[in-house]
Subunit: 163 residues, 2 copies
Amino acid sequence: MRLSTKGRYAVMALVDIAKHAQGTPITLAEIAERQLISLSYLEQLFAKLRSAGLVKSVRGPGGGYLLARGADGTRISDIILAVDEPIRTTRCTPGAPMGCSGNKSRCLTHDLWEELGNQIRLYLSSVTLADVVANRLLGRSGALHRERADQETSETAPTIAAQ
Amino acid sequence: MRLSTKGRYAVMALVDIAKHAQGTPITLAEIAERQLISLSYLEQLFAKLRSAGLVKSVRGPGGGYLLARGADGTRISDIILAVDEPIRTTRCTPGAPMGCSGNKSRCLTHDLWEELGNQIRLYLSSVTLADVVANRLLGRSGALHRERADQETSETAPTIAAQ
DNA sequence: ATCTATCCCGAGTAGAATGGTCAACTTTAT
DNA sequence: ATAAAGTTGACCATTCTACTCGGGATAGAT
């Protein structure tokens, strides 16, 4: 999972929609003004968000974008995955000649990055747009705690569990 | 905390030292060959690692680099912080005109990135070079457990405490 | 002394990624 | 019809990455 400004802009935009939505679509122009992101850049981002199924578009006057799954059903990890194509954190590409199975000492860090990626994914998939709007972020220390908690109870009422 | 290949190379290099160290210094040429990183690039990285106090250098023939704090005393987060200067994850720079205190809706995601950064830092500071070499990465669920444990006891006998 | 292995340092650089702009087009409410 | 909006594709300036290059400085071996 890549963490660039592109992904952050996309999250900002969708949080903006989640905060200001009232059933009617939100135009990119509004988002551009409120979040200080250029309109054309937002168009690029929303093209990806739409094909990932995170937003629905309404064309014509009075149109704009809606959250396809609602604020509770949209996880931050989904947004970032939609706009930031994943990065290869390790050199040992499975198909490449002389992968990491060939040279053990070269890939000592493989598992480290893998595990770090898990930690990040775990945290970001535990946070929804609704959480960000309501600022339910702190006290959420330790993604793994949270993961176990998700299986036991559903305190904060996450409507959609996992894919 | 930034997560680029530069930081990953630095970690690979130090893991290589941790694995192959036997009291005698390791040369950059050895590391370059084993990890397939260019020698000149390693020189750049080790300049930063040295000024951060993570490695000691020995000049002249028979010289090379040593881990300044030992494999148990070197945390992955230290390495990445040493070579990858930090990124600003939010637009609201505290000193800038019209910071995020001025426009609340613009900085709804502020706390999210802050908290994500904490999660990453927490995990990476819970892992030492010795852990990577020994592949003690999984089962390490929940960085918070580990961090608290570090302050209470010193189970794994860190031979070299500080610089 | 001088040779040579090694670290040390600053400048330069090709290519990729970022963060856009611009122009033209399609759809649809009024 | 007209205008408001999304849709698409091409293009571009700047910055960052991941290096290379060239020359030192230091210290062990001879």
